[in-house]
Each structure stands twice: as C-alpha cells, then as structure tokens.
C-alpha cells in the first residue's frame, strides 16, 4: 500500500484526523528511511553540512572536519569554499589555520538545520542505534540542554532509557553514536518499575526531567505515560 492510500472511511472527522496523523508519520518515516540528503547533496557536502549545522557554535579546523568525515582535507576544500561563498558557512583565519562554522545569520540556516535534524541529526542517529533493542526499550528520550535547543557546541547529550536494556547492552552502540556525533552521549537507564516507583515517590530529578522538554527517540509521550501508570 502506498503512503497516500488508505482504507479509512472519510465520513467522520475522527477518521480524517487519524488518517492525517498517519500520513504525517509515514512521511517523516519515509524521509528518514529514504536517501533524501543523497538526492539533494553530494556525499561530502552532506557530511560538512551535517557536522556544521549539528553543532552551529563550533569552529571546525579543516583537518578536524576531515577526520570526522573520514576523508582528506584536500577533498573538502572545494565544498567549503563553495559553502562559504554562498553564505551558508563562515570562515576565519588564525595564523596559517582556517576555521569554519555555520553562518547562523543566514536566512536559510534554520531551514537547513531542520532538514538535517530530521534526516541526519542527533535524534535519527539515536533512533537508529536503539532500534535493534526492540521491546527491550519501552521509552527513550533526549532531555536537558540539547532537548531544549540550548546546547553549546560541545554539550553532552543526555538520554534517558527506560526498559530492560542496561548500560552494558547499550554502551557499544553508544560509542558508535558518539563517533558519528562528535560528542558524548550520557545515558541514564531505568528498569520500568524503578522509574514508576521514583515518579510516585516524587523524585525531584525525574519530576524536572518530565516537566522539561523531551525529544523522543523510542516511543512517545503515551508510552511514557503508560510506564508511569497514568
């Protein structure tokens, strides 16, 4: 069945609402699974944009960026020049070194950043690494400064994982995610019963986390509510 076809009866507003939500969800899933970025940008440019837009306050030294992307500095130079000339990146010189960063004042900065967040950003990478754990993870979300979009260039990523997957299970995958993201990912793991118990006993830390902004990478608010017993 194509993503635009449906068996739903359009005669009721509820059916229309459900169908609209399903289409939106399918579109997002389709965008993540398909090579949207590959269709839009050559591979090296994708890598440069994913790194610079993902950490927009960070100044990247050429060889550092090349190392992150697993390529040679010389292969980046043309892309970087082009992106600087178009106003998407800015550069500055310090002695013989040239540094690059995203031009956050560019009129297309936020649009581009959102495109990369949806396709190659933090949440998609974490979703991808947590996927193999299946039902061992009931809910997982990013919280803290990154979830609030108040992170600094090198902010750690705080992730809460609720389920049967422990830190021992998760750690090898986390190291891979850290290599891709270029920043530390700190996980706090709870078994569902401990999470529920702490919420019921009014744990201050968890209460603050639940009140704050969250970016779900496994499940959603309804799964979290279910764990808590709402």
């Amino acid at each position: 069945m194509g993503i635009w076809t449906t068996n739903l009866d359009y005669s009721t507003p509820a059916a229309l609402a459900v169908d609209s939500l399903r289409n939106m969800r399918n579109n997002v899933r389709n965008m993540r699974n398909s090579s949207v970025l590959t269709a839009l940008f050559p591979q090296v440019r994708q890598g440069v944009l994913a790194a610079t837009l993902g950490q927009p306050d960070k100044w990247w030294y050429l060889s550092e960026l090349a190392d992150r992307l697993g390529t040679s500095p010389s292969s980046l130079q043309r892309e970087l020049s082009s992106l600087v000339a178009s106003g998407i990146l800015v550069h500055r010189r310090e002695g013989t070194r040239v540094y690059f960063k995203a031009e956050t004042q560019s009129p297309v900065f936020r649009d581009l950043q959102q495109l990369f967040e949806k396709t190659a950003g933090l949440a998609p990478i974490l979703e991808h690494i947590l996927k193999p754990f299946g039902n061992k993870i009931q809910s997982a979300f990013i919280y803290g400064s990154v979830a609030r979009s108040r992170e600094h260039a090198m902010s750690d990523v705080d992730v809460m994982v609720i389920g049967r997957a422990g830190l021992a299970d998760l750690s090898p995958a986390l190291r891979k995610a850290e290599a891709q993201l270029g920043r530390d990912v700190n996980v706090t793991a709870y078994a569902p019963e401990e999470f529920r118990e702490k919420i019921k006993s009014g744990d201050h830390f968890l209460a603050a986390v639940l009140r704050g902004r969250k970016q779900f990478v496994k499940g959603g608010q309804s799964d979290l509510d279910e764990i808590v017993g709402k």
């Binding site: 422990g166 830190l167 021992a168 998760l170 750690s171 090898p172 986390l174 190291r175 530390d184 700190n186 996980v187 706090t188 793991a189 709870y190 078994a191 401990e194 830390f205």
Partner: protein
C-alpha cells in the same frame, strides 16, 4: 591504541608483577564487590565501589601482560581501554561498558549526588563480578603461575 604508543606517551610503563601484588589486588576487588552489595549504601556509592572493583580487575590483567598504567590525568580511561589489548575481542564490550561507567562515576564522585539509578547499581555489580571472573580465567590460561 598499542602498547608501543602507550609507552611512548608515558601512559604506561613496563612492569613485572608478582603473585603477592595480584593477591593484594584480589583482596581489594573482593572487598569492593562485597561493599557494592550492601543494601544500606546509596546507589551512587555502590556504583562507584563496583566500578573500582572493575578498574582493579583491568589493572590485574594489564599487570599480568607486563605493564602498569601511569598515574596521570585520564589513567582510568587508559586502563579500561587497555583491556582490549590484553583480553582481545572479549575485552571490547567490557571496555565500552566501563567507559560509560567511568564517566558516571566521575560525576558521582566530583559533581552531583543521586546520579546512578538502582538499575545501574545492580547492573555494574553483576558486570564487574563477571569481568573479574573473565580476568581470572584469562590469568589461569595465560599466566598459570599467577593464578589465584
């Protein structure tokens, strides 16, 4: 990471261990694993104590391989990472796991309280015990004169 690089960077030095030195480390590990099981302690303290047992187990393996990690900034990370060199493939997942634990333990000891969850404190006790068992098995197989 290789021993040659670690030696060159003065992260490690050559070292000849003894049964006596290893037995002292064994006693320390036994104490920490027992303390990490005490229900009266906070999850943070149990977590940090079990972590210490795992670190000492890593140092035992490194000592048997003929090295000692130098006491300087980052030496816990180097010790844990070096278990990959000593134990081979079997050491990789443990090194990744205890690296996660090292960061959490740093936060526990120097920055915040109530960091480790009960789930995590119970898990590290199991993993540290298991890791120590693997190190003893490796010593028995590769350095029988130093076995328990």
């Amino acid at each position: 990471m290789t021993w040659t690089k670690l030696l060159a960077n003065k992260d490690a030095q050559k070292h000849t261990t003894s049964k006596k030195e290893l037995d002292n480390m064994r006693a320390l590990i036994a104490r920490d694993l027992a303390d990490a099981s005490l229900a009266g302690l906070s999850a943070d303290r149990r977590f940090a104590t079990a972590y210490n047992a795992a670190l000492q187990a890593a140092n035992m393996a490194i000592a048997c391989a003929g090295y000692r990690i130098m006491s300087k900034v980052g030496h816990h990370r180097v010790s844990l990472e070096s278990t990959k060199l000593v134990l081979g493939k079997a050491g990789h997942n443990y090194a990744d796991y205890f690296e996660t634990c090292r960061r959490k333990r740093n936060t526990i000891d120097y920055t915040f309280s109530n960091v480790a969850t009960e789930t995590e404190a119970k898990e590290i006790l199991v993993q540290a015990s298991r890791f120590y068992g693997e190190v003893e098995d490796w010593i028995t197989k590769n350095h029988p004169s130093l076995k328990m």
